[in-house]
């Protein structure tokens, strides 16, 4: 019975999101802090170094950390303002229990743990172990991700655990594994300025990974030429040497036709292909049917742009591919990435200085969060849960019999579908706000309403927490310690700045307490995240993502250590595939032939416009954190629908008008932002807001057959001019999903 216990406006008034504008102690100069804590920003996969100012056990400000080599003090607005979370008035200080009609009431931590465990035991007894599911998050540290995966497999023994990285990095990861045998960016960021040509596919770098901008501009200063594929003319696209305004889902048209031209003009490395790859013949056969005219038709751009792209990429001495969610959030996301990677492999430009590729991680620990075993199909060390040898290794580390480890469970979207159709009865979720971040939001909310029991762990009462029977308050990144793995595969150290407030506890401690109550305490005798990391090192030993040689001391000394790092005297591996040794057992790169196919839902007469979704620079993911921070809410208070003046004029829409954007699944009412910087067949709505402002009301549950990533980047909508809404949800504050 997880329906909302109280009308929304009342819950919002009580629990927020409210906006915290003022630092602890007011805006007056803080003077000298008690200490500066060198740690990292938590608000994207770049994981920039930052120093937090601490005074009287409060985070009172920040100071740039110019020694940290990745960002040298640079920060985006999210990093600058992140310190305003700790003393936030919305912080949950006690466990909460739902009371129908009144909302939530505080309960003791022990009582809350008891209730969760008794509900789990009841459901598992009545419906089987897999009827209880766990959802985790890629903003977790490696330690938390590790302990949560182990908890699901050892304490709950449910197959059904997955994480919100399923909505982020899995297409990129799956393609990299297919082609190179390893799921990691191949190069450190220091290779970017050394490339002659850079292809940026589906990445709004300026807003989603702002720090990377300086690397790109440094490359440009060195003479690099930059190609950008995006349906919107983003700040990076605006000054690129070649901007290709590709139609969402048309990327394969560009990639395959570029390869067609590379073959035709002799710009491929036949020696490299012969000695270090497999599968070329099949690719070459496929590519024959992608002359630039066909690619242009698929991509919705002039063929001359594809020819220019090939002419820039083909003869270059060094090159770098950067790709992100723009090509990955598709029901063909893995194929999109594979088609792009084929351009890297065919030219043999990988595994050396200035040559290679990277996927731009979205979530804080997008890289490490998927390696430690909270993913439906993986065990620690990025091991395969269906591989007998891998299972044996992990079973030995855990001290369990291999057959007791469940096999592959449901991934995020099918898992929520299983909740909707009643196969899964109870859910424990951490670090995840699915009512905002999952596609088809109305369906996701309906699913949560059908749970028999739902326990939610968060530091604020998120839009999803409101559906819970029990909410446990947890610690922010700066209230716990641990490691994450940044966009480059560099393992870094998040230090604790202050204690968690009230009865809030570190997520790993909550997991260990639940495990103990479930009778698995002997497997979860961790008294610190460091002990978890030391077990993680052993569990990952010999795996693809081998952390065995990484210690916290080394991380601090060396400004992070790149995995794989199999021993303490190993220097770590900033650049993969040096000497053309790839991650597959045969040591070769495996070409993947890719045929273009349409999206699951293309525009039609009824819903004639493409909707694409994404981020704005001031917000992070579902906004649970950033929609509570004053400066960031002021910068982006509510979502707007970007629409080209040609399309707007045909619909009678002027800048600032309210528009209803609706798909077959749901709608939003937002203001129009009429701009020439978007394709006229496409509208864009950012996804950080809830309720009637949630872009995911419209997106579809179609997933990639391999990665199971949802198709956030294309669905069919219609757009109508409407009058200003006057309903109750329009009247709540903007950061809560209302309209200003």
């Amino acid at each position: 019975m997880a329906r909302l216990p109280f009308p929304l406006p009342g819950l919002i008034e009580q629990f927020g999101p409210h906006v915290n504008v003022t630092p602890p102690g007011g805006w007056q100069s803080t003077g000298e802090p008690d200490r500066l804590v060198q740690t990292h920003c938590c608000f994207c996969g770049q994981q920039c170094g930052i120093q937090l100012k601490v005074k009287d056990n409060k985070v009172v400000g920040f100071e740039p950390w110019e020694d940290f080599p990745f960002n040298r003090g640079k920060l985006c607005p999210k990093g600058v303002k992140r310190y305003l979370q700790n003393e936030h008035p919305d912080r949950l200080l006690h466990a909460l229990e739902r009371r129908d009609g009144t909302g939530f009431v505080p309960v003791g931590y022990g009582d809350a743990i008891d209730r969760i465990v008794s509900e789990i035991q009841r459901v598992q007894h009545a419906h089987g172990r897999d009827a209880v599911a766990v959802l985790g998050g890629a903003s977790f540290t490696n330690e938390r991700a590790y302990v949560l995966g182990k908890f699901a497999r050892v304490a709950l023994r449910t197959a059904n655990i997955d994480y919100n990285g399923r909505l982020c990095m899995v297409s990129a990861g799956a393609a990299s594994k297919k082609v190179f045998g390893v799921d990691r960016s191949a190069n450190p960021w220091s290779d970017i300025p050394k490339a002659d040509v850079i292809l940026i596919a589906g990445s709004n770098v300026a807003e989603c990974s702002p720090i990377t901008t300086d690397y790109l501009w440094s490359a440009r200063e060195n003479g690099a030429r930059i190609i950008v594929l995006d349906p919107r003319m983003t700040p990076i696209a605006r000054t690129a040497d070649l901007y290709i305004p590709v139609r969402s889902g048309g990327d394969i048209g560009v990639f395959n036709s570029m390869l067609y031209l590379l073959i035709e003009r002799g710009w491929i490395d036949r020696d490299f292909i012969a000695n270090h790859t497999t599968g070329w013949d099949a690719v070459e056969r496929t590519i024959r049917s992608y002359p630039p005219e066909r690619g242009a038709q698929i991509a919705g751009v002039p063929a001359s742009m594809i020819v220019r792209a090939a002419e820039m990429w083909g003869p270059a001495r060094t090159s770098f591919l950067l790709h992100a969610r723009g090509i990955e959030h598709h029901s063909k996301g893995v194929d999109n990435c594979s088609a792009a990677l084929n351009l890297v492999v065919a030219t043999g430009r990988i595994g050396r200085e200035g040559c290679g590729y990277a996927m731009i991680t979205g979530q804080g620990n997008g890289q490490g969060g998927r390696e430690q075993g909270q993913k439906a199909d993986q065990l620690p060390g990025a091991r395969d849960i269906e591989n007998a040898e891998h299972r044996q290794h992990v079973a030995r580390v855990w001290g369990v019999d291999e057959p007791t480890i469940p096999h592959k469970g449901l991934t995020a979207v099918p898992l929520v579908e299983a909740i909707h159709d009643g196969r899964i009865k109870a859910l424990i979720s951490f670090c995840f706000n699915p009512t905002v971040s999952l596609p088809d939001g109305n369906f996701a909310r309906e699913a949560l309403e059908r749970l028999e029991f739902y326990a939610n762990v968060d530091f604020f009462l998120s839009e999803t927490s409101r559906y819970a029977d029990i909410v446990l308050p947890c610690a922010l990144m700066e209230e716990d310690e641990g490691t994450t793995t940044n966009v480059e595969g560099r393992v870094i150290h998040h230090k604790k700045a202050v204690d968690p407030p009230g009865e809030a506890k570190e997520d790993w401690r909550i997991v260990c307490d639940l495990a103990a109550k479930l009778g698995a305490g002997d497997k979860f005798q961790f008294s610190s995240p460091r002990e978890i990391f030391d077990e993680l090192r052993i569990a990952s030993r010999g795996g693809v993502a081998d952390y065995y040689g990484i210690t916290w001391e080394r991380i601090d000394r060396e400004y992070g250590v790149f995995w794989p790092c199999p021993s303490e005297d190993h220097p770590g591996t900033p650049r993969l595939y040096e000497g053309n040794r790839f991650g597959h057992p045969d040591g070769k790169a495996h070409f993947q032939p890719v045929e273009w196919r349409p999206a699951a839902e293309e525009p039609d007469t009824e819903y004639p416009i493409i909707l694409t979704t994404g981020r704005v620079v001031a917000h992070y993911l579902s906004g649970t954190q950033t929609r509570r921070i004053g400066g960031l809410v002021a910068q982006s208070p509510e979502p707007r629908c970007e629409i080209h003046p040609k399309l707007a004029a045909s619909l009678g829409i002027a800048d600032g008008d309210f528009v209803r954007v609706e798909s077959r699944r749901g709608a939003v009412v937002v203001r129009a932002l009429v701009v020439k910087t978007i394709r006229p067949d496409t509208v864009f709505v950012p996804y950080h807001w809830p309720h009637d402002r949630s872009a995911n009301n419209m997106t579809s549950r179609a997933i990639d057959p391999v990665s199971h990533i949802p198709e956030y980047k294309i669905c069919a909508v219609r757009v109508l001019k409407v009058s200003r809404p006057t309903d109750a949800m329009a009247a709540v504050p903007q950061q809560a999903g209302g309209l200003g």
């Binding site: 007056q28 600058v80 983003t234 919705g300 910087t677 978007i678």
Partner: protein
């Protein structure tokens, strides 16, 4: 080591507002952001441009101040108005060719960018130029700029026949001794080409 210089490269700006948010965190004016980030014409383009105080050698704001409230430090930083002197007349606001000083009614005085004097005077870099993700704002030596950038830094401005020299440099795309501004429309000699076409529909014409 050579003197650290504040250098603006407008072509690098991505409009992220890290500078605006970080400026607010500077201790001398905490809670009030002094940097201006201009969105040029959002309907047409995503182009943006940051504007800090240029710290003129002979500051016009100080020249026109009837209360002698605006002082320049020995190291060339033009300060916000002195609170006991400022009469809030806004002469400086009107006179500044860069549009930098603003009269703040809350504190009843003119406030502006002071190049993070609390930081730069003790060897730290200004907040905005430290955090700027695109390094459109940077604080470094001119040697480093020459080594790592394509363009040419200049700190000489010609407003019609009037020459202004500033402590802050801006990057020009090619050899030019000064930024020439003849009319208030803002067209400069450094941008002789027409503005780039930022209309995606125009790029797709002929499809």
């Amino acid at each position: 080591m050579s003197e650290l210089r504040f250098v603006i490269d407008y072509s690098r700006c991505i409009g992220c507002q890290a500078c605006v948010q970080a400026c607010e965190e500077c201790d001398t004016h905490r809670g009030r952001s002094m940097i201006h980030l201009e969105t040029i014409r959002r309907a047409e383009s995503v182009q943006t441009a940051p504007q800090v105080c240029m710290h003129c050698d002979d500051p016009i704001c100080a020249q026109v101040c009837p209360a002698d409230a605006i002082k320049k430090t020995a190291d060339g930083v033009v300060q916000s108005s002195l609170k006991p002197r400022c009469i809030g007349c806004s002469n400086c606001v009107l006179a500044c060719p860069f549009g930098v000083p603003k009269y703040d009614g809350y504190v009843d005085q003119m406030m502006k960018c002071d190049m993070c004097y609390d930081r730069t005077s003790v060897g730290k870099r200004p907040m905005c130029a430290t955090v700027c993700p695109s390094q459109a704002l940077s604080f470094t030596t001119l040697e480093e700029i020459e080594r790592t950038r394509h363009g040419v830094p200049t700190n000489t401005w010609r407003f019609g026949n009037e020459m202004v020299r500033t402590k802050v440099f801006v990057m020009l795309p090619s050899k030019a001794s000064a930024v020439q501004i003849d009319r208030v429309t803002g067209r400069t000699s450094a941008t002789p080409t027409p503005p780039p076409i930022d209309d995606v529909a125009a790029l797709l014409e002929g499809m």
